[in-house]
Symmetry: C2
Subunit: 371 residues, 2 copies
């Protein structure tokens, strides 16, 4: 009985307690403000229109205020659907005039990767707080300019790492941090899907790279947030069939290893030709793992310790990962705190992605130098 | 209903059919011989006494005929237990006189790794067929001498890769070969356990190396038999806490990647400080995986395809992996065929292990040259 009780406690009871401690929240010195901050959504592709825009109505501190698109039909369609007046619909040509719209506090850049830097910087220059999708940009140099632009504007810059707002992933971080698995030794992190042909992801001028930029970044970011420390060395191997028309100028598969200061190693998979969505942290005493790990929903988590494998089930959170992420920037904008996934976080991944590409190209391990 | 039927067929019906086709068997031109061939077991450690010797009574073509040990008490104890007469009990000093004992047809070398070469070669020179535990030896050079010695004696040399006789692993090979997962892209293979201190495995002069030699070889061999092709490049990273008294002169953890000619990549884990026992082959159409994968028993297998994850359950085989392995060498000895896991197989793993060690040491990918 005592055993049963304590097990349930691990799985749900203390899970809730830990979650409460972990879920990012910017505390309020006084009463929270009444006004919701307004987001301009830049880029009306499927992620923006299917995952982001429908969630804004559930936000506590944010709302949809404006739309930016190069396609007039999309502005018309989604403007009508969400009740966004014509004055709050922008093209890329008049995008900079968002500076004159006081209803826009926040800008969410959901464009192809190579446009992230430009549209984030212009948003910062227009005096807006920026939420930019991952990968933050297509080079570390761009990331640095983005960070500088936000700093100069005195506005926040946050990167769309939604898993940092997802309860199971947060629970995983907490379990590792609490010593549940003992000393972490091996992190495996695998992400991939079968890329459909003829899309911007497969066009290097727009994507900046292949699977690594798009889905491999989940393996990378998960390995880092689970390790709770920064990699000091990477070693990578790429495998791309250049005869496959999808992979004329971006990589298909790139797998890599990372060494952490504690001695833990990560083995990561990134693929555009096979389905993967999992991570696991194996320590000296047991493991915690998820599969699916980082999707929009359907997360499943298991732990193993003392010879027992157990599924972990968490209560539904008050805000799902999309809503929590959208609210987080609004909260940070209002109370002046730094987002938990700031531009620096995006830059760290981008430096590692560059090192991973270099290692694969040169067939050599690459040591990370202090930023 | 039709769907259900075909699914069951995949999981059990055709599983049996495929197994029948896959299970290694040396066909008999005439009636199988009546006499069982006799094994001398060399080295009476826990694997020999707990896993091998109790299984010999279940063999169809082999039996326990003699014991070889440096410890008189063990010879006395196991000799009495298995009814092995004093004339069939050998020390390492009079080991070579097994040549004069016609009841010994086969020698199973179950000694610490660094003794494999010497005791296999002496068995070949005594005119006996040899089954040698894995790793075959502690260097590729030693493996080559062992192969030459068996060849010169006109006797068989087989390496104890028992997973090649285990139904679930054979089913996995068959599923990959049959195209179930589509084109294989990513193979993950993880093996490790928490090594207890003060044992020969942690003493380089006896073990020849750390986790890679002992348990990592399962990751390596599984990746190869699942890929069905030979790696052309390896890249490795080692992580060993030299302050841990267990790891004064052998490695703890070594993880590595392998590139196969088809473009598939393998990510492999080997650890003496965390528990792992799994493999998975992810292809363009789905995956097949096992966990536990390569233990003495308790194997579990899953497949995923078309969005459905299914557990695969196979009927109990007529011979378990230990019995099938022991019988295989006896059959090969009787009908002159080459064992499916010959000395050449052991040599291939040893060349890769040397390349993995070298890659980890030099921080560079190592290309495999044609043998």
């Amino acid at each position: 009985m005592g055993n049963r009780q304590s097990r349930r406690e691990v799985l749900t009871g203390s899970g809730v307690a830990l979650l409460a401690a972990t879920l990012p929240a910017c505390g309020w010195a006084q009463e929270p403000p009444k006004r919701k901050l307004g987001y301009a959504i830049v880029g009306l592709g499927s992620y923006a229109t299917r995952q982001i825009m429908p969630r804004l109505k559930d936000c506590e501190f944010a709302k949809l205020a404006a739309l930016v698109s190069g396609t007039p039909e999309k502005l018309e369609r989604y403007g009508a659907e969400y009740g966004i007046p014509k004055t709050h619909r922008y093209s890329y040509a008049n995008y900079d005039s968002i500076r004159d719209n006081p209803d826009i506090d926040l800008v969410y850049v959901v464009l192809p990767n190579s446009m992230h830097a430009e549209y984030s910087i212009r948003a910062s220059q227009a005096g807006k707080h920026v939420l930019c999708e991952k990968p933050m940009a297509v080079s570390a140099a761009e990331c640095e300019v983005m960070i500088a632009a936000a700093k100069k504007a005195g506005k926040k810059l946050m990167i769309g790492y939604r898993c940092h707002f997802e309860p199971y992933n947060l629970r995983g971080i907490e379990l590792v941090k609490s010593g549940f698995v003992g000393r972490p030794r091996v992190i495996t992190s695998e992400h991939g899907f079968n890329a459909q042909p003829n899309q911007w992801r497969l066009d290097r001028p727009l994507s900046g790279g292949g699977s690594m930029m798009d889905i491999g970044i989940y393996s990378l970011n998960a390995a880092r947030y689970l390790a709770g420390e920064e990699p000091i060395e990477v070693s990578a191997m790429e495998s791309t069939d250049r005869k496959d028309p999808r992979f004329r100028n971006v990589e298909d598969q790139i797998d890599w290893q990372m060494r952490f200061p504690s001695g833990a190693l990560a083995s990561c998979v990134s693929s555009y030709s096979s389905n993967h969505n999992a991570w696991r942290v194996v320590g000296t005493d047991g493991w915690v793992g998820m599969e699916p790990a980082t999707g929009y929903d359907g997360h499943q988590m298991w732990t193993r310790k003392g010879g027992k494998t157990e599924q972990v089930t968490l209560p539904a959170p008050p805000k799902n990962q999309f809503v929590a992420q959208l609210d987080h920037l609004a909260e940070c904008a209002m109370n002046g705190r730094e987002p938990i996934v700031s531009g620096e976080e995006g830059l760290r991944d981008m430096r590692l992605i560059e090192a991973i590409y270099r290692s694969a190209r040169e067939g050599k391990a690459v040591r990370m130098t202090a930023a």
